[in-house]
């Protein structure tokens, strides 16, 4: 019962985003033990940002990008043409499935894509537009 009550208290504090001691102290009932109240508040305040970050990290979301690697290859021949020198890019994205669904055993998949120079140029154009939109929003 005690654990459950503590759990509810901390959840409420994290949910509301309370960061000041006064706000937390005001949650306790009138006749609550003074020293205990202060001790609990102190401990909670120390942990509050860690808890918020963890809550944010375990939000439901689309699969998240964990890591990204690339390499550039040169294609020198194929079944349709025996000599060529075409550079191509291989991009590997490590993606973690919805954290909220996986709990403690995260499912990570690696997706390898191939991009031609033309595709890369178009991709960069798109990413550039995203960057411009982001700066426009940030400057508002």
């Amino acid at each position: 019962q005690l654990v459950s009550a503590l759990h509810n208290l901390t959840r409420h504090i994290v949910y509301r985003g309370l960061t000041r001691a006064e706000d937390i102290l005001s949650l306790f009932p009138e006749n609550f033990h003074q020293n205990l109240k202060n001790l609990l508040t102190k401990i909670i305040l120390e942990n509050i940002s860690a808890w918020r970050n963890e809550a944010q990290a375990s939000q439901i979301s689309l699969p998240r990008l964990l890591d990204m690697d690339w390499r550039v290859d040169i294609k020198t021949s194929s079944d349709s043409i025996s000599r060529m020198a075409v550079p191509t890019c291989l991009l590997q994205l490590k993606i973690q499935e919805d954290v909220a669904l996986c709990g403690d055993s995260p499912v990570v998949s690696a997706l390898t894509l191939e991009l031609s120079k033309e595709t890369l140029d178009t991709l960069l154009e798109g990413l550039g537009r995203i960057r411009d939109q982001l700066s426009a929003v940030a400057n508002k």
Binding site: R11, V14, Y15, R16, G17, R52, A55, Q56, S58, Q59, I60, S61, L62, P63, R64, L65, M68, W70, V72, I74, K75, S78, D79, S80, I81, S82, R83, M84, A85, V86, P87, T88, C89, L90, L91, L93, I95, L111, T112, L113, E114, L115, S116, K117, T119, L120, D121, T122, L123, L124, G126, L127, G128, I130, R131, Q133, L134
Partner: protein, 174 residues
């Protein structure tokens, strides 16, 4: 020889646009009627002729080599030279087509994005964090697959930076 150049034209038009099979067959049968040749033997001849440019592409032959091949096959010098000339003119297009057909693994075909702000969640009443969502359309074999992925802002900037490095690398190799 006018017949030959007309036929060559039909052949090269097909080679540079291999999807236009209907048009090629129509043009062939028109050619047959105009010159009073029967379509069956004409098709056989055309099949053998087409083997030469395809082999030439595979082995990266020069126009002189193509001409020599044709002469070895029994074509007159004049016709062989004409064909080799046409080959030289069309080679860049044909090469580009052949390269385009080369195997690509999980080719990125399209990308869409949206970004927004997470306003709140069941754990946190007010959040206010920006996220970017990408939808990547990948060609796996003959099917398209959609991959959805979410990035934080720092991840996005890092991704953009890496892609610019890839571009520099690709450019230094072409």
């Amino acid at each position: 020889s006018q017949q030959f150049s007309a036929l060559t034209e039909v052949l090269f038009r097909f080679l540079t646009e291999p999807k236009e099979v209907e048009r090629f067959l129509t043009q062939l049968s028109d050619f047959a009627t105009m010159n009073k040749i029967s379509l069956g033997p004409l098709k056989n001849i055309v099949k053998s002729i087409l083997l030469v440019p395809n082999g030439a592409l595979k082995r990266n032959l020069s126009p002189e080599q193509v001409r020599a091949d044709f002469i070895a096959l029994g074509l007159s010098e004049e016709k062989a030279s004409y064909f080799a000339e046409q080959w030289k003119v069309n080679a860049p297009t044909l090469t580009r087509l052949a390269v385009g057909q080369t195997l690509m693994i999980n080719q990125l075909v399209d990308m869409e994005w949206k970004f927004g702000v997470t306003a709140g969640s069941s754990e946190l009443e007010k959040v206010g964090s920006i996220f970017l969502q990408l939808k990547l359309v990948i060609k796996k074999g003959s099917q398209m697959e959609n991959v959805y992925v979410e990035l934080t802002l720092p991840q996005f900037y890092s991704f953009l930076h890496e892609m610019e490095r890839v571009k520099t690398s690709l450019e230094s190799f072409s």
